[in-house]
């Protein structure tokens, strides 16, 4: 009975388990500790960004500028590290930079009522080209030794990244369910005008989710940057598609108002595993994108189908409950 509420998440989980079983049977080496650790590490930044994206989409908006925000934050992190900013301050600075870029989106969408897809499309181009002009396309290199893995070494550093991502997922899943603002995100995404009539402030909510989105991008950029010895100026390109795909595959309605972070976690895992799984299965990894596309389509079709079924049972129910009066 209770599981019924999670059927959307369960169906994605089932697909994921199916994939793992197939890979496990054909190529058991997939489950080697090193491979699993790499998978978790590679997908941690995506997961962080997807947490923010889930909230943006739940609120009925979209942010396609995050790839460029990610690049700005990554380069900023590298440059700040090079001038000797200590790690804790660096962390705060990068998160604030991300949040400020998010706040700009939030102001334009929430207060000026501009459509988020256009605003963030403009920002996608604007931040990317501003960065290219500022860095002249150069990578940030010669990072100080204490920047990589926060100076903790790869062994500790990599687990720290994964743990931070998972902790934040759990925290935000709890917050979405248990604080007033979380409830308001669902209400605004479902029907902003009705939410306003209930005394909520849709503008603030929309502003808030974009700021959170930016903050998550900043954090993800930093946690990603410390894994490498140099930072490319084009990092994060295509990140928006990865994040949106994971959120949608995880069962969050693209129209807002319905969805959960648990689904997003499974979505990130499923889409993030496919590439590696293909390699282990001996299939050309060039198929990765095509298969990801198919999964996204399948998720949307499943959504529509489930809504139809829901509506049908609803129609069968409603006259009865009316008659019962």
């Amino acid at each position: 009975m209770k599981l019924g509420r999670y059927k959307r998440e369960l169906s994605v989980l089932l697909a994921y388990v199916g994939l793992l079983v197939v890979v496990g049977v054909i190529a058991p080496s997939f489950f080697g500790a090193a491979n699993l650790r790499d998978l978790a590490l590679n997908n941690a930044p995506t997961l962080l960004v997807a947490i923010g994206m889930t909230m943006v989409i739940l609120a009925g908006e979209i942010d396609i500028s995050i790839g460029s925000q990610f690049a700005v934050c990554s380069v900023a992190a590298g440059m700040l590290a090079k001038v000797g900013v200590p790690i804790p301050m660096l962390l705060v600075a990068v998160v604030v930079i991300g949040a400020m870029m998010g706040a700009l989106n939030g102001l334009l969408v929430g207060w000026l009522r501009l459509p988020s897809i256009i605003v963030t499309l403009a920002m996608l181009v604007a931040w990317r080209d501003t960065l290219r002009w500022a860095t002249a396309g150069a990578w940030v290199q010669d990072l100080p030794p204490n920047f990589q893995w926060f100076g903790l070494g790869q062994g500790v550093g990599q687990w720290l990244i994964v743990i931070i991502a998972l902790l934040l997922l759990v925290a935000f899943a709890w917050l979405l369910r248990n604080v007033r603002a979380g409830r308001a995100i669902y209400a605004v995404g479902s029907d902003a005008e009705a939410a306003r009539l209930a005394g909520l402030q849709p503008r603030r909510i929309v502003f808030g989710v974009f700021v959170m989105m930016g903050a998550f991008v900043g954090l993800a950029a930093l946690l990603n940057a410390v894994r490498f010895s140099s930072i490319p100026g084009n990092s994060g390109s295509g990140l928006e598609l990865k994040a949106i795909a994971a959120v949608v595959v995880g069962g969050t309605a693209i129209t807002g108002g319905r969805g959960r972070l648990l689904g997003t976690l499974i979505g990130v895992a499923l889409l993030g595993t496919i590439g590696t799984a293909l390699t282990f299965l001996g299939i050309n990894p060039f198929w990765e994108k095509a298969i990801q596309g198919l999964i996204i389509l399948a998720a949307l079709v499943a959504d529509v189908a489930m809504r139809r079924v829901d509506r049908r049972t609803r129609q069968n129910l409603a006259p009865q409950s009316e008659a019962a009066q």
């Binding site: 248990n178 669902y186 209400a187 479902s190 029907d191 009705a194 209930a198 005394g199 108002g257």
Partner: protein
Amino acid sequence: MTDTLLLQATNISKSYAGVHALRSASFELRAGEVHALIGENGAGKSTLIKVITGAVSADDGTLELNAQAITNNSPRMAKSLGIAAIYQQPAMFPELSVAENIALGMEGTGTWRRIDWTARRRRAQELLDRIGARIDPEMDAGELSMPQQQLVEIARALGADAKVLILDEPTASLSEEDAQNLFKVIRQLRDQGVGLIYISHRLEELPWIADRVTVLRDGQTIETHPMAEVDRPRLIQLMVGRELSAVFPKHEVQPGEVVLELRGVASRAAGLKDVSLSVRAGEIVGLAGLVGAGRTELAHLIFGITPADAGEILMRGKPIKIMDPSQAIERGIAYVPEDRRRHGVILDLATSANITLASLRKVSNFGALDLGRERTVAADYVRRLGIKTPSIFSPAATLSGGNQQKVALSRWLATKPSVLILDEPTQGIDVGAKAEIHQLMNDLAAQGVAIVMISSELPEILGMSDRIAVMCGGRMVQTLDRADATQQKIMELAFGQVPVNGSGASAPTVMMDR
């Protein structure tokens, strides 16, 4: 007027989800007459028009045009038969020229058909000339004034060879002068043999324009008369002449202090002018008026959806400013909107979340929701209001209309309001749920809540209100005490007064004009 019967609707019935909109209504239209169709809000005028234009199909009854039965009526079919309707708000494509707007749907529809721009312009000019409209066919329709757009619509209908022309409140937003011009065009069309159905809330203009009048009440056509034989009081009597059979569980409550007072509030955006009103604790004030009189707009003003730009709002004698619904809620004002599916509940949210949405503070500690307490509160309202739902976690979308309305009510009761505004609280819900909501209103009044109830249903207004405030054209016309109010009196006020000076002075000339 000829005696040729043009359109005949016989014993038309139509019900929406068990609610009868039309019960065996009959209506006839002759060629070359203007036939007025009048009735209160919800009397069935719109539904009858929709049946004639094919927008909805009747459950029962027949429709004949020139003694030929119309079967399987549809908007397309009605149009091809020469039935056209023009509504209060003209439906134009503002980016297209007048000629293009007129040509739409008239020219051949072959995909590759070349457009003959000259012929199109000439045709538009002819049609505009025929109704005496001095409008340049090359202009963009969006640049025209509203009365000009109406004329273009009439020209378009003529171009489609309309034999039956339905005008739905065409003068509602026209000045006196524009209305007179429109009447001239209507008379011309009548003289050319077009049959016109004329719907209007402005009873005073009917003697000038209508040949016959049919009164609708509660979905039935009551009587049809030559316009010259009935006067305004008689028409109103026919419109409201029902028996007051329904029993309302009204309890007498000794009203307390004045909780909410409006002093001369106005809002340009909402079309409200100089509205004053006061509501006492424990009092139910009924807000009566026709659709468009400004009742919902007044509710929106009080609730901060469209804030007032003049006048004063006082809460327990202290002036307050309400710029936003959240401020209204903080002051203890609650508003249950009219369109519950659209605004009353949030369909995706669980029943419990809908109930607590406006009072989340009351179920949280330091910003964190107490989900256990939320469940208790929601379950309590579900029990008290008898909300039928599979579970308190079921999305509101799964509930029936009456139950959604109870959820919407619960949401606002949970805020413990001192002023409760109900906008058509029982519209379209079944009799049982209706009685329960009325009972609930009594209980709330007994607890000292000040209630403002907007209703288009006169028996409900008369049955439930301590005082009745009547609005017309964005103004507060008069407030009646329960003891003095009758259906006739309320409708007299709601239909407004015949214009006294200036605009009304033109009446005699027009009468001669006929």
